[in-house]
Symmetry: C2
Subunit: 365 residues, 2 copies
C-alpha cells in the first residue's frame, strides 16, 4: 500500500463507502461544548438531527445536556426507543397521523413541540387531552429566518395565551432559531446580526411576560452561533448539534474549536489517467448541497460528484493512490450525509471499536 | 380542504414526506420503453439504481427486459434476494470484501461486472475461480465521460485479452456509458455528440474483434440518449433507468414521452405569511443537486430548501393552501431522492393500492 493511502487497522475491516466516527474527537467535542455551557446562562439540549444516534445522545446527556432536540416525530421515536427521557421536537407537527404518534410518545418521555398556528394548537390540545398526556409547547418566533414562526409582538402573545388555555398542553416558552445566521462571515458580522435578530426573541418574551405569563424557556441556537447566542443572559437552552461530529462547512466558517470526528471512507475503484482517481462514493454517499467534501490525502482534492462515483484530482503524493486504496473525506454537510447510512463505524486510535446505529436514519416523518 | 390542495383518497392515508408512485404512469412508461426497444437492435437491461425496487424490476422483466443493471453489489444482492435472475453490476467492484460478496452472488444469478484495471481483473478471477463460479466481465471503455474506463484502442484490447485468459471470468463485451451526454441540449447537439462519442465504443469493439475475439455485448445508454444510442446498429443492451419513474430533470431536457410517475407527498406545516407555505420536505426528503422540485399545485413554486423544510412560494389559487394540506412535488433528481426512503406508496386512480420496498435503499456498498 502506497504512502499516501490509509494504514490504520480499521481500514481493512470496514467496507466502503462507510461512515467513520473518531471517538476521541467526538468525546473531545462533547466535552468542549459541555465546558462552554458550564459558563452559563443556558443549558444544552443538543440537536440529534445531525447524528440521529442514541449512543451519541447518551454521551451528550452524560456530559450534562438537559435533554435532546430533534426535528421529526420519527427521530423522537427512535430516541425514545433508545431510552432518551426528555425530547423536544423543535418543529411544527401537523396532521392527525403524526399528532397521534406525538401524543403516544408523550407517554414515554418528557416531550416538547414547537407551534406557530392556532388550528394546529387546537388539534394538539384535543389529542393530548383525549390521551390524558401533557405536551410542552414552545411558541416559535421568527427571529429573521423567514421560515416558520410567528412575529414577536401580538401574534406571539396571542398564541402563548391560546396554549396556556389549551388542555393537554403546557406553555413552556419560546422556540427561536437563528438558522439564517449560522454561516455568516466574517464572525464580527455574525455576532452583530445575532445580537440584533435575537432581540426579537427577547421582545416576544418580554411582551408575553408583561401579560403576566411566565416564559420558562427560550430555546434555539446552533453550532455556528453558540458563542454569541449562548451568552445572551435570557437564553435558557442551546440546540447546537453539529459540534459533536462536525463537518467541513462549520469548520470553514470558523468552528475551529471542534474537530471533524466524522468522515466517509471510500475506495479508489479506478485510476483512469494520471491526475484522476475515481472513488466509490458519489451523491448517494456524500451530500453535495454545501459544497465538496475535503479529501484527507495530501495532494488530493475533490473534483466532481456523480451519482455513484466521486472524482478526486490527485497530484504529488496522492498520485501514488492505487485501485483498492482507501481514503477518508470530510463531508461538507454532515447532517444529510449521516442520513444516508445505517451505521457509524466507531474508531479509536486507528482501531474499529464499535458500530452505532443511525437509529433515526430516514425517519423524515 | 381548499381547492388547491389534493383530494384523492390516498392523501389521507399516507403520512408525509412520502414517496408516491403512480402505477398507471409507471406501467405506461415501462410499456413505452418496451415498445421502443422492440424496434431493435438492442435489448433492454434497465438500471435499477433509480428505483432500487424488486417489484419494478420484475415489471420491467415481464415487459421484455433481458436482465437488470445496478451500480453496487448491495443493490445486486437486494435484487437477487427478490428473485431477479440476471444482473449486471455496471461498475468496478474493488477490494476483497466486495469481491467475495460479488462471487457469492454469482452462485445465485447470472452475474456481470465492469472492469477497467488489470490488477482488479486478477483479483476477480482468483476469487471466482476459487469459488468455482463464472462472472461475466465487460471491459469498460471511456466514451468521453472522463470517469472510469479504459481508452478504446490498445488498452481495451489488452484488458479484453486478459479477461479472456482469466479463469472464472468470461469476456462478455464492453460497458460504454455516455453519461456526460444525457442532459445535453438542444437535442440536435446531443444527437451529434452521442454519435461521435459512441464511435469510441465501436472502435474498441472493432479493435478487439480484429484480434479474433468475439464481442458479444456492447452495453450502455441512458434515458436521455436512448432514442439515439438505442438505434446504433451495434449496441446490444440499453441500461436506461429513469424512464420508468422519471423525474423533473429528464422531463426538462426533453423526455416528454415518459410521465412523472414519481412524486413526493408533503404537508404544509406553516403559513407564516402571505406568499409563503412551508412544507415538511427538506434536503432529507427531496435531493437538490439537479435543482428545485416541481410543485404540482397551480400558483405554487419551490422557493428554497432547508434541511428539514421546503419553502414554497404561493400565489393565486395556491394562496388557499392551509396548514395541514398536502401537496405533491416532482423531484428534480429521482435516483437520489428514492434512496432517502424505505418504501414507495403505490397509487392508482387516486387510491393507495400497494407499498413496495426500496430494497436497495442505502446499499451504497
Amino acid at each position: 500500500m502506497c504512502a499516501s493511502s490509509l494504514t490504520p487497522p480499521f481500514v481493512a475491516e470496514v467496507d466502503t463507502p462507510a461512515l467513520v466516527l473518531d471517538k476521541t474527537k467526538l468525546l473531545d467535542n462533547i466535552r468542549r461544548m459541555a465546558d462552554f455551557v458550564s459558563g452559563g446562562p443556558a443549558k444544552l439540549r443538543p440537536h440529534a438531527k445531525t447524528h440521529k444516534c442514541v449512543e451519541i445522545a447518551k454521551l451528550q446527556l452524560d456530559a450534562g445536556a438537559v435533554g435532546i432536540t430533534c426535528a421529526k416525530v420519527g427521530e423522537a421515536e427512535a430516541l425514545a426507543d433508545g431510552g432518551i427521557p426528555d425530547i423536544l421536537v423543535a418543529n411544527q407537527i401537523v396532521g392527525p397521523l403524526k399528532i397521534a404518534r406525538l401524543v403516544a410518545l408523550a407517554r414515554r418521555c418528557v416531550l416538547g413541540v414547537a407551534v406557530d398556528d392556532a388550528q394546529n394548537v387546537r388539534r394538539l390540545s384535543e389529542a393530548a387531552a383525549a390521551a390524558g398526556v401533557t405536551v410542552r409547547a414552545l411558541v416559535e418566533v421568527d427571529v429573521g429566518m423567514g421560515r416558520c414562526g410567528v412575529q414577536p409582538g401580538a401574534p406571539a402573545l396571542t398564541l402563548a395565551r391560546q396554549v396556556l388555555s389549551s388542555p393537554g398542553l403546557v406553555f413552556s416558552g419560546l422556540q427561536a432559531y437563528e438558522g439564517h445566521l449560522q454561516n455568516v462571515t466574517p464572525f464580527e458580522e455574525r455576532t452583530a446580526r445575532v445580537i440584533e435578530d435575537m432581540r426579537k426573541a427577547l421582545t416576544a418574551k418580554e411582551r408575553i411576560e408583561a401579560a403576566g405569563i411566565a416564559v420558562a424557556e427560550v430555546s434555539g441556537c446552533g453550532t455556528g452561533t453558540h458563542t454569541i447566542t449562548g451568552r445572551l443572559p435570557w437564553m435558557t437552552e442551546l440546540q447546537c448539534g453539529s459540534y459533536a461530529t462536525m463537518d467541513a462547512q462549520y469548520r470553514a466558517v470558523g468552528g475551529a474549536d471542534y474537530e471533524n470526528a466524522l468522515t466517509v471512507l471510500a475506495t479508489v475503484i479506478s485510476r483512469p489517467r494520471p491526475g484522476m482517481a475515481v472513488v466509490d462514493a458519489g451523491l448517494k454517499a456524500v451530500t453535495p448541497e454545501f459544497g465538496d467534501p475535503t479529501v484527507l490525502v495530501e495532494g488530493a482534492a475533490w473534483h466532481d460528484f456523480s451519482e455513484e462515483h466521486g472524482e478526486v484530482a490527485v497530484s504529488g503524493p496522492a498520485e501514488g493512490l492505487r485501485v483498492g486504496d482507501k481514503i477518508q473525506v470530510v463531508p461538507r454537510h454532515g447532517c444529510t450525509t449521516v442520513n444516508l447510512y445505517d451505521r457509524f463505524h466507531v474508531v479509536q486510535d486507528g482501531a474499529l471499536v464499535d458500530t452505532w446505529r443511525v437509529a433515526g436514519r430516514g425517519r423524515s416523518q
